[in-house]
Subunit: 391 residues, 2 copies
């Protein structure tokens, strides 16, 4: 084995803890509340098969040839009005990317030198925290309450740390399921303009609202161009397709495009063409309606189970999305609980992994989209027993 | 427009010069010797349409769901024997990636801190040179003769610069069309082990040999694991699909996998499944035979035209690949020549763009794969006239 010296960006990076969990849960008859996977029934395989064949028969020579980094032209054309409608404002520029994971990577590539500060929610999506760490950013967690980020704490952090970037998931946040209040959205955009901070508004769960009224996007309050919106088709069409987009200031997206040129040259034209066709056929509204109805029931079933957990167990009641966040009584560590849960064929993610600075070992994240009502009842009963035993 | 401070990695990066040329040549009836595009007739659109539908009908739920960063399992399974056969040796590990462009990006991510030296051929593939520059590497060009890199110069550069990486395209190099001699391959692998330098063996043109005997890969001489092979399906199936692979040491590929997790999570499973099916159906040998026969004729036609160019014009006679390299008499600058050529509806890439340190303004790269014999005759006649005028 060669004795290779790796780049410093990997110092202290051991790979995602979630990945190790995924290896454990690959066993059959495991009930997994661990991932963020859509339900298999939400994945339109028959439609995708028909569309894939169709686009290749109709435009195959262009789809198989090298494409532009800026995206497959018909998709860029259909994406702009789609995104403007979803985000609720005119957009100067949209860029198709290979999943919104790539959007985060390109933003860091464009903006972050080692040591630059990024403000993050506490807890936040661990995949993107790892991305920021690989750019050797200084992660600065900003506190929240049940309505999301606290604007005063945010302003203080902006003043103190001069961050390049604020990363926020405003709707049904991953991992907490919390939604950022409308008036705070407006305030945050004002602060971003005042302190010259790019805001990455990551909004993959927007369409998965089960109750309450949709709130305006941060981008819709953005007069000065500091907000870049990260969009995803992973939760409403297919994550395996790896198609997402960025929308925002043309100058910033130009830098991201230059970065993308040497990241992967362009996103596969075939997957762009398939998503384009889904948009043009008007597939999404009815499909979203169907999966929303299912997920709402699964969410309610999990919440009903959590009601029967021992006193002292607290949990969020999300208005949408894929996750419920649980706080166990102080002193109960979610990691040994997971070990026991896996023996009983139930999995979740310990919450400590979502904190930029670790700690909070008594928290955990539950996903309900990828389990049937029956699995939710069985799995939650096992977890309830384990929590009782741990008390 | 927001006043954004970008990361230092973009200092001095203005986007690829080739991209600007591509915008100019997007006009209809342009004869383009500029890109590296496969011929439209080499793109198997009907087969891809059938296969895309088939894999989605047979394994659609898995293809549309989140996949592993390590690759779509059936593809990993078919890729390993394919790659071992192509490379001519046992491989400890293969990793599917989103085109070999991503392979280069992941290698730099794994290895390069700002200021680290990378040894490159002079000239070399400009897309990957830009990738290295974005990692703020110090690019050290190593001289070649008609048989590729000079081992003595290479050893001197290794001793002097302590590089992390050597980047080499051994077969029908981009941009020169030169092939690295077999005995030098062995010597280079020895030097890499001696000086602890990872060798990135980028070999997208291997199957496009028009004359002579295939040479052993660098990887096949590699006993200590310093060589990582970058493979591509862009020239033999489809570049728009964005599927390539890396093969080499498991530890290095594990770091690349961790980097890929936050680059794009995984390569689209659909495009991996399509390439997998092409491999399993045994499509490649006959297909390669066909496109090789066509490209050989196109290459010969371009060489025959170059024979009629004014004395003092020198050019390579590649044994395969997609490119011919031309040196004009000293003092003729390829950039103004290009401006005039575009007026006459002919395009190429000025060679200076392929040199890590610029210069060599009297050189240019010609591609023959994407033009018919007729277009080659017409386009080369126009170039010949322009060179005559410039003398």
């Amino acid at each position: 084995m060669p004795d290779i010296t790796y780049a410093k960006r990997f110092d202290g990076i051991s790979g995602s803890a979630i990945r190790e969990i995924f290896k454990l849960i690959a066993q059959p008859d495991m009930i997994s509340f661990a991932g963020g996977n859509p339900s298999p029934s939400a994945l339109p395989d028959a439609e995708a098969a028909r569309i894939a064949q169709q686009v290749l028969l109709e435009d195959g020579k262009r789809i198989l040839q090298y494409g532009a980094t800026e995206g497959y032209p018909p998709f860029v054309e259909s994406l702009k009005p789609y995104a403007e409608n979803a985000i609720g404002c005119a957009l100067p520029c949209v860029l198709p990317v290979t999943g919104s994971t790539q959007a985060m990577d390109l933003l860091c590539k464009a903006l972050i030198d080692p040591g630059d500060a990024i403000l993050v929610e506490d807890p936040s999506f661990l995949g993107n925290l790892q991305c920021m760490k690989l750019y050797q950013a200084k992660l600065v967690p900003v506190p929240s309450d049940e309505n999301g980020l606290l604007p005063d704490a945010l302003e203080e952090a902006m003043r103190e740390h001069h961050p390049k970037l604020l990363y926020v998931i405003p709707n049904f946040q991953n991992p907490t399921g919390k939604t950022l209040a409308a008036e705070r959205r407006e305030k945050i955009v004002e602060l971003a303009a005042k302190y010259h901070v790019v805001v990455a508004e990551d909004d993959p769960y927007r369409d998965l609202r089960y109750r309450g009224t949709p709130l305006p996007s941060l981008k819709s309050f953005d007069r000065d161009g500091w907000v870049v919106f990260l969009g995803s088709f992973s939760k409403i069409i297919s994550p395996g397709m790896r198609v997402g987009f960025m929308a925002g200031d043309a100058g910033l997206l130009r830098k991201c495009t230059m970065g993308k040129q040497s990241s992967d040259l362009h996103t596969a034209s075939l997957t762009q063409a398939i998503v384009d066709r889904f948009l043009r056929e008007g597939f999404l509204p009815g499909h979203i309606e169907r999966i929303r109805a299912d997920y709402a029931k699964q969410c309610d079933a999990m919440l009903a189970e959590l009601e029967t957990f021992p006193e002292g167990v607290r949990f969020t009641r999300p208005d949408g999305g894929l996750f419920i966040w649980v706080e166990l009584p102080e002193g109960i560590d979610a990691q040994p609980l997971l070990t026991k849960a896996i023996e009983r064929k139930v999995a979740f993610v310990p919450g400590t992994n979502f904190y930029a600075l670790g700690g909070h070992t008594n928290t955990l994240r539950l996903n309900f989209s990828n389990s049937s009502i029956g699995q939710i009842r069985t799995g939650m009963a096992a977890l309830r027993d384990l929590v009782r035993e741990a008390l």
